[in-house]
Symmetry: C2
Subunit: 244 residues, 2 copies
């Protein structure tokens, strides 16, 4: 089982240069799309349609869908709510299909989907459930960090390192990838005080300015969710529900 | 002086997404172009013409220039020598202009030059001289890592972190850039045993396979050179010589 490889793409701009062509792609946008998606499934959302553009989101709204949409951290006027994980912790969303569009995360999911590989979604909130899913996966694994508008960010990279370290320590994956080694190194610097370490990150400043940092303690808490979102035909559902 | 900013571009693919438009660009390709360029000036080379393509290198050879050229670590058949720093430690190169083309480094220098900003070159070999030069620079600073074919690499990033940490500790620069913070973090993990840390890197494996790793102890030694290569009109010269 040791011959499966893991690599980390630090931003979507580096996705074309990945080396593992045949891989499960785990999309990461810790602040905040992938944390919110894991939370939504944990609270009974049936399905999520990630859409890249606001035009698509608006069109779905006109068809009667619930829409969660933001740009640069701000909820859009036509949307039912924004992308904070807190928005998905209520009965209003239970059993519903939600159309979802954010600054970085949903574009990254669509980019990953266009590669033709199986796509999943990861965050600190579902790390153990996702690690278990990845251990049972038969092939290679690419962690694709959403970053911020194609720039590197710390929180996605630290999560990538946390996931990679688990899979390597489990003996299920190996790596020869410098980005994975760097991510594991950063996770080991951060893990003792994850929130303190990531408080210095660029994106946190951005949320703070918008008064959107109330969700950070939740975001940086491991294993609040058991969901493993998986994309099929453009729709995210919880892998647990499929197995039932 | 504290309002000058530093940022790190982890690979040339991320250069379009840099935030500091008006900046000194320090190009880094520790293995091996920028280490070799610093070494060449330290041993009396007059000027270096970095060229991106092999066709350009071949054309200069036909005009009688000394040519150093490699691809994927292999010296090219028409070249006078390859890009190991050891090739530049002899009297054959003293006072000469050398045409230089490598897999990653020279393309990165040309990309930086095309941005219209002042371009310099850094490696562990000239870190103190370069830091002094950067402290006297009036504007922002972008460290541009060459990586490997647009992929992230550890050795360039660790160098970027070492340089950034010095400039920040000197009180000359500040950063709000996640990539800079990550690079500084990796430098602090690596600095106790730089060569041991970087032995695990992808590119070292590549050099080892080609029996080209004899130069690594020299490459990872700080301050073997006092040169500060600066690009003007497509030609690299040593900044020290300009001031005379």
């Amino acid at each position: 089982m040791q011959n499966r490889s893991i690599e980390v793409c630090l931003t979507p701009a580096l996705f074309p240069y990945r080396q593992l062509g045949d891989a499960l792609i785990v999309v990461v946008d810790v602040l905040r799309a992938t944390t919110s998606i894991c939370t939504a499934f944990e609270h009974g959302v049936e399905a999520i349609l990630p859409v890249a553009t606001l035009e698509e989101a608006r069109a779905f709204k006109q068809q009667g869908y619930l829409v969660a949409a933001e740009r640069d951290g701000q909820v859009l006027d036509f949307a039912d709510f924004g992308n904070s994980a807190f928005n998905f912790m209520n009965n209003k969303v239970k059993g519903k299909t939600i159309v979802y569009s954010t600054t970085n995360g949903t574009q990254t999911i669509q980019m990953a989907a266009a590669s033709g590989h199986l796509v999943s979604v990861g965050a600190f909130s579902n790390i153990s459930a996702l690690a278990k899913f990845a251990c049972n996966w038969h092939g290679n694994l690419t962690v694709l960090c959403s970053g911020w508008k194609n720039r590197f960010n710390l929180e996605d990279t630290v999560f990538a390192g946390a996931l990679a370290q688990r899979l390597i320590e489990e003996g299920k994956y190996q790596t020869r990838d410098d980005a994975t080694q760097a991510a594991v190194g950063l996770w080991n610097q951060a893990k003792g005080d994850l929130q303190g370490y990531l408080l210095a990150a660029e994106h946190h400043e951005r949320l703070k300015k918008l008064n959107l940092d109330d969700v950070l303690p939740y975001t940086f808490t491991l294993d609040t969710c058991l969901s493993v979102p998986v994309l099929e035909d453009g729709v995210l559902t919880d892998y647990r529900n499929r197995k039932l």
